[in-house]
């Protein structure tokens, strides 16, 4: 442990991207530690990480994004890191923006800093954005705060939130968790970032799974959140 920030990079079948992502991260933002969580990839992700000597948690089976991130959070928490950042392996996230997220949480401005594509620039109007808007609206109804980019996977957490991830079920790297945590008194801020298109490999989403994702998230935000106990100790 050389720094107080751990960058968690969940990777499932990212053989085409992982090397570049980690090398980019090290070059652009050297003052952080990182760990790749290989989520039971069937391609050469683990091999590439081992060959390069990347730090890696190698999951024995495919546990899904939520639990891969959870594994990273538990590792970060137990190793004593003060901050943890969730960072995509596919090259979408830009390490140049980690500094502003880090600063926001470090100074106590917020407990979670979200790297947002639309914090200060307007969102384009596409089908995907429509989904994102619906989630924003549901989030607002649940917790009273407008999150302009609820599906952004670039989020930096402090130790308090890290512990909640490590400890509780249903605290996942998803928009409904953001809503739940805000209801529990966690402060969330968005910082403008740029995101790139994925470079290689394929996304976990297609039309069908996007709709499934929307249904589940909308159900969780629009229905489940109203019943969830908000007095858990975070």
């Amino acid at each position: 442990m050389n720094h107080d920030l751990l960058v968690i990079i969940p990777a499932y079948n990212e053989a085409g991207n992982i090397e570049k992502t980690v090398l980019n991260l090290q070059a652009q933002y050297p003052c952080c530690d990182y760990v790749v969580v290989n989520d039971g990839s069937e391609d050469k992700t683990a091999e590439i990480c081992a060959r390069n000597g990347f730090h890696m948690i190698d999951m024995p089976v495919n546990v899904g994004l939520a639990h891969a991130v959870k594994a990273g959070m538990i590792y970060a928490y137990e190793s004593g890191y003060a901050f943890a950042l969730q960072f995509d392996a596919d090259g979408q996230h830009d390490a140049r923006y980690i500094g502003s997220l880090y600063h926001a949480v470090r100074t106590g401005e917020c407990d979670i800093a979200i790297g947002s594509r639309f914090a200060s620039t307007a969102a384009p109007f596409t089908a995907r954005m429509l989904g994102s808007r619906i989630l924003s609206l549901l989030l607002f109804l649940v917790c009273g705060q407008w999150i302009k980019d609820p599906t952004s996977g670039m989020r930096l957490f402090n130790r308090r939130v890290m512990r909640a991830y490590a400890q509780y079920p249903n605290i996942n790297p998803e928009p409904d968790t953001i809503g739940f945590l805000i209801s529990c008194g966690i402060k969330v801020a968005e910082k403008q970032v740029e995101m790139h298109d994925r470079e290689a490999g394929k996304s976990m989403f297609n039309v069908f799974s996007s709709l499934d994702y929307m249904a589940r998230t909308a159900f969780s935000l629009g229905f489940v959140q109203w019943f969830r106990k908000k007095d858990i100790e975070i």
């Binding site: 089976v61 159900f219 969830r228």
Partner: protein
């Protein structure tokens, strides 16, 4: 469907919904997995309040007693659930 069966269906569906919501409240289940069961119990409540839906459906597909159509639908939904469970289990091994 007889009034007794309807009342029984409503009661069971309500008790069932209350149980799932309690589990959700305490966060002892995965939220994503609950969508299926909430829709399932909503469907049970719907057909017990409006049995005409099942009468209409059973007439259309040629099942003599609407209650059998209810059973058929429930069995069908449960098989889907079991299948999903098994396929996700196999996938993770």
């Amino acid at each position: 469907m007889t009034p007794t069966l309807r009342i029984l269906l409503i009661l069971c569906a309500l008790a069932y919904t209350a149980y799932t919501i309690r589990k959700m409240r305490a966060s002892t289940v995965e939220i994503g997995d609950m969508l299926f069961w909430i829709v399932f119990s909503a469907f049970l409540i719907l057909i017990s309040i409006f049995p005409e839906i099942m009468s209409w459906l059973s007439e259309k597909i040629g099942i003599q007693a609407p209650v059998n159509a209810v059973f058929l639908l429930v069995i069908g939904l449960l098989s889907i659930s079991v299948f999903r469970l098994q396929s996700s289990f196999r996938h993770s091994i």
